[in-house]
């Protein structure tokens, strides 16, 4: 899967599954402050990511992920390392 495809898929999942407003989506967006993703939404992201990308996110890896761009890079890294 190409990086662009991964980013497009993440955006689509955030819009459809977490119901983030499309206009809020940008790489610089802060996951909590701008997108309103709280700790419970993160729990659902674990499920969404495994079902769509086939890997398990680890809670301890989430502490460094602040911006949407960080999340893109994390998923891209995990997809390519699988």
């Amino acid at each position: 899967m190409q990086n662009e495809e991964i980013i497009k898929r993440i955006n689509q999942l955030l819009i459809e599954e977490i119901e983030i407003d499309e206009v809020q989506i940008s790489p610089a967006a802060d996951l909590k402050k701008d997108l309103g993703i709280d700790s419970l939404d993160f729990v659902d992201l674990f499920v969404i990511i495994e079902n769509n990308f086939g890997f398990k996110m680890k809670a301890e890896e989430m502490s460094d992920i602040k911006k949407l761009d960080d999340f893109y890079n994390y998923v891209i890294r995990r997809v390519h390392s699988n």
């Binding site: 977490i18 119901e19 709280d38 419970l40 939404d41 729990v43 659902d44 674990f46 499920v47 495994e50 398990k56």
Partner: protein, 407 residues
Amino acid sequence: MKRVVITGMGIYSVIGKNLGEVKNSLYEGKSGIIFDPVRKEMGFRSALTGMVERPVLKGILDRRMRVGLPVQGEYAYLATIEALKNARIDAAFMEKNAVGILYGNDSSALPVVESVDILRKKKDTMMIGSGYIFQSMNSTVSMNLSVIFKFRGINFTISGACASGSHAIGIGYLVIRQGLQKVIVCGGAQEINPESTASFDALNAFSTRESEPQKASRPFDRDRDGLVPSGGAATVILESYESAVRRGATILGEVAGYGFSSNGEHISLPNVDGPVAAMKLSLKEAGMDASGIDYINAHATSTPAGDENEAIAIDQIFGKSRPLVSSTKSMTGHEMWMGGASEIVYSTLMMNHHFVAPNLNFDNPDKATARLNIASSTIPCEIRAFLSNSFGFGGTNSSLVIRKING
């Protein structure tokens, strides 16, 4: 002691999704019972059930509020929206006043089954997601609605088996009467799905008259052969009389008395003395005697033993005055955790629209039920006050007396 009145009601039921539809169904004697082929395939002894479509709340409630809400919470949300509107209580009132919630609910089976199914399949709790914990707890309705509506008063769930909804109104009445709250959202909710009723079906308690679903629930009739499970949600806004008058609210009825008792005997077999004690206490609390009651909404679920014992109990107290009696479960089926609240809504609708709804399928009495004045068809009449019975497993009994307000 404060007087306690009903200033709003809302309903999402197998006989209608709002007060208007339900009032018409009650008047016309419409049944909400169907044959559900899914249950037969699953191995149910009886595939009969009350049925109402699942609400679609996407676009109405945001995702975080929806993911923790089980189906009975969805029913309860819609019933509560209608009840608050009916009571003309808005967000501004709730900001100024600590509104409470006491809701009856005694299971949330489907989310428990679904979340454990995921765990067994995936062998990883992280794959369960964030919603199931809030959907699975018995207090799911009160916890979700208190967040959605921003209630800041008393907040918990009453689990009292098939009397849960009635006890919720009874406890709400006591709390307001004590002067501790002005307004409490009371009610009862019941999920409709095979998972929540499979173990009940195992007790041989359900009617197997599958060839005639709408004739299966026949409370007090000689040929009754069991209950039909059902569900939905009903909300009743209880308010202190002073608060209602100050707001200029329409008063739909006064909660005059709450009686309760426990049989202290068998876990599933009902008796006579427990219901008699609950009914007597409700009349005593209301300061009324039996002759003041014009209508009894019976618990009668259409089981052979339950209906017989209730008929004997009613006859012991009301044998002289012989008020009209009907069981709306003949139309709705047994709404279990919801029933005690919905039957207050049904009966209050009857009181305010001047009729008694029919006890469907009452074709022939038996020895015990022949003693009652059962309304086998719709009867236009004035109801000054009614009594509503709700009984449950473990021998829990609740009786509520509601009367027209007399200044």
